[in-house]
């Protein structure tokens, strides 16, 4: 706890440097009236999806593969409760590692639809179960946007817009909250009256982001109570049940302070931030291999940095290998893909065969706008050629022997286990 506090204080200044997130209370109240819902919602949902895709193990759902976008609320609520009930044993499984992460975008869709109550709960409900299939991301983003508009028109209240205006600061909290909603729901001291409309779990989980956002927004107003300083922040999420429907009336968060806890509004925001960060660190722990026993932010960050560095070096090494193996960079597409296709089910040679036809004889250098369009999905040979030419023109090459030695010596990452790049590939590939 001491480490957490110190590191939290240290990182508070870092966080305040972020775009508009330094003092979430003021920022959010400032933007509440003026922030447009759609881009924020889209961004939130996009981040939710990616986050869910990354940490989908937390939200494994029983009906995961159902992609139907239209479903009735009752089926959805039952699925939600099942999903919520599934959350409790999942954290226990995380250290051992899950082999698969079922995702369900229709699940989120249904969650989003059914949580229209309580102003903004809809969009947050989708956030609470961030289990979205990333390949459906665009479709989902569009559908979610429509849902957002729908909800915005329906649940016309200030809290809704405030939540919409909170940007991606909510999404992390929603994701973090989702993991805790069932396990920590019982921790909330102030349980609201049972919600007859939806299941209690669903209310909890769908309102987690709502009230974590509300908490940060209104913590200044309700100074006399503060959420207890648990490391997982389940308290602040647990009271969500009562908040989002009350938020329509008063926009306040009643958080009961534990004995001996500070009730300062600042400490509230700090605590919330700390919990979010610790949540993220836990998830990162599962991603980075060999970090299950590591505790503490500094060591975890070190491991993450090492891992990212090693991955980036692997990419460099492999690209160097590719560059040496084929001297003309014209990869034999059909030959390659006939083998790779076996590993990538569903890719037909016809889908790749379009690529030669896409190359235009005259390549016009495109505007940056084209790159934004290219980023939307389709690879454009014009873009790539321009990019590669820019790269080649801008940088100067380093010495090759230096590069090779650097690669070989830097390749050892101890925790990579079976994936370690030994010297063998370099000896095979660099025959010149």
């Amino acid at each position: 706890m001491d480490m957490n506090e110190s590191s939290e204080k240290g990182m508070k200044s870092n966080a305040s440097s972020g775009p508009g997130n330094g003092i979430p209370v003021e920022w959010q109240s400032q933007f509440s009236g003026t922030f447009s819902c759609t881009p924020a919602a889209q961004q939130q949902h996009a981040m939710m999806e990616s986050f869910a895709a990354v940490s989908a193990g937390l939200w494994a759902s029983a009906t995961s593969q159902n992609m139907a976008l239209s479903s009735d609320v009752s089926a959805m609520s039952s699925a939600v409760q099942r999903g919520a009930g599934f959350l409790a044993p999942v954290p226990a499984f995380l250290p051992q590692g899950l082999s698969h992460f079922p995702v369900d975008s229709g699940f989120i869709e249904r969650a989003a639809r059914s949580t229209c109550f309580g102003g903004g709960g809809g969009m947050m409900g989708a956030g609470a179960y961030g289990a979205a299939d990333q390949s459906m991301g665009d479709a989902f983003g569009g559908a979610a946007e429509r849902l957002m508009d729908h909800h915005r028109n329906e649940c016309n209240n200030k809290a809704d817009l405030e939540l919409a205006g909170n940007g991606h600061d909510e999404v992390p909290s929603s994701e973090a909250a989702g993991g805790d909603c069932s396990s920590k729901g019982s921790d909330s001291k102030k349980r609201r009256r049972p919600n007859e409309v939806m299941g209690a779990d669903q209310v909890h989980c769908s309102n987690l982001p709502a009230d974590s956002a509300n908490e940060s927004v209104h913590s200044k107003d309700k100074g006399e109570e503060s959420s207890p300083a648990t490391t997982t922040g389940g308290k602040s999420k647990g009271k969500g049940a009562k908040d989002t429907s009350e938020s329509q009336k008063e926009d306040y968060i009643h958080v009961r302070a534990r004995r001996g806890q500070a009730t300062n509004s600042h400490s509230l925001a700090e605590r919330l931030r700390r919990e979010k960060i610790s949540e993220r660190m836990k998830l990162l722990q599962d991603l980075v291999p060999g970090c299950s026993k590591v505790t503490g932010k500094a060591v975890m960050l070190d491991e993450i940095i090492n891992y990212v560095q090693s991955l980036q070096r692997q990419v460099e090494f492999l690209s160097m290998k590719l560059a040496t193996v084929n001297p003309r960079l014209d990869l034999n597409i059909e030959g390659l893909l006939s083998k790779d296709l076996l590993r990538f089910p569903g890719v037909h040679s016809s889908s790749i065969g379009f690529s030669p036809e896409m190359m235009h004889p005259q390549l016009q250098l495109s505007q940056p706008g084209l790159i934004q369009g290219g980023a939307a999905g389709m690879a454009n040979p014009d873009v790539f050629r321009r990019i590669i030419q820019a790269q080649l023109g801008a940088k100067e090459g380093s010495q090759m022997p230096h590069a090779l030695n650097g690669y070989v010596s830097q390749m050892a990452y101890p925790s990579l286990g079976s994936q370690d790049l030994s010297i063998r590939p370099s000896q095979d590939g660099f025959q010149m």
Partner: protein
Amino acid sequence: MRGPSNNTMMAFKRGFLRSLLLSLQSSKATMSLEERKRAVKSSADVAMATARGVAGARWPQAILSSSSSSSPSRMQAKVKRCKNIVRRCCHKRRRDGNNGTSFFARTALNRSSTEVARRLVKKRTKVLRRMIPGGDLLDEISLLHEAMDYVVHLHAEVDVLRLVSKALQRSTTSGLFHAF
């Protein structure tokens, strides 16, 4: 391999492979080794960014914007650096105001373990910011979020590149050439 659902990562890998091959095809024919390696690497990065899509993360956009423009990016880099400097100054001023001591006095008196831990964490978050594309502008929480996302996709990229290189190796060393 752990990570998001297999379907998601398969889709990403397919898209990545497609973009990678496209970009390699469209590159110049005659290049030195260094140029080729850089071409492969940059096309791999861009392919990863496009396969990921702009939804849900900042790093794809950062990769694409950094690779697409040369002189505007210099301006952007300068702007970013200025922002960082201002940020750092503001933080120091704010922190010093809170603590009541000057910057130099604090560094001299820095003995407690919490201070050490805090400085370690800050140093490492700075390093992490540098490594993740577009990480300079992110706050602490979304930085971790981005790191997660980036790690997963980087991992997939490494897998795909390894497959491709293995396939190439097999095709060249065994002497089999598949006709178009």
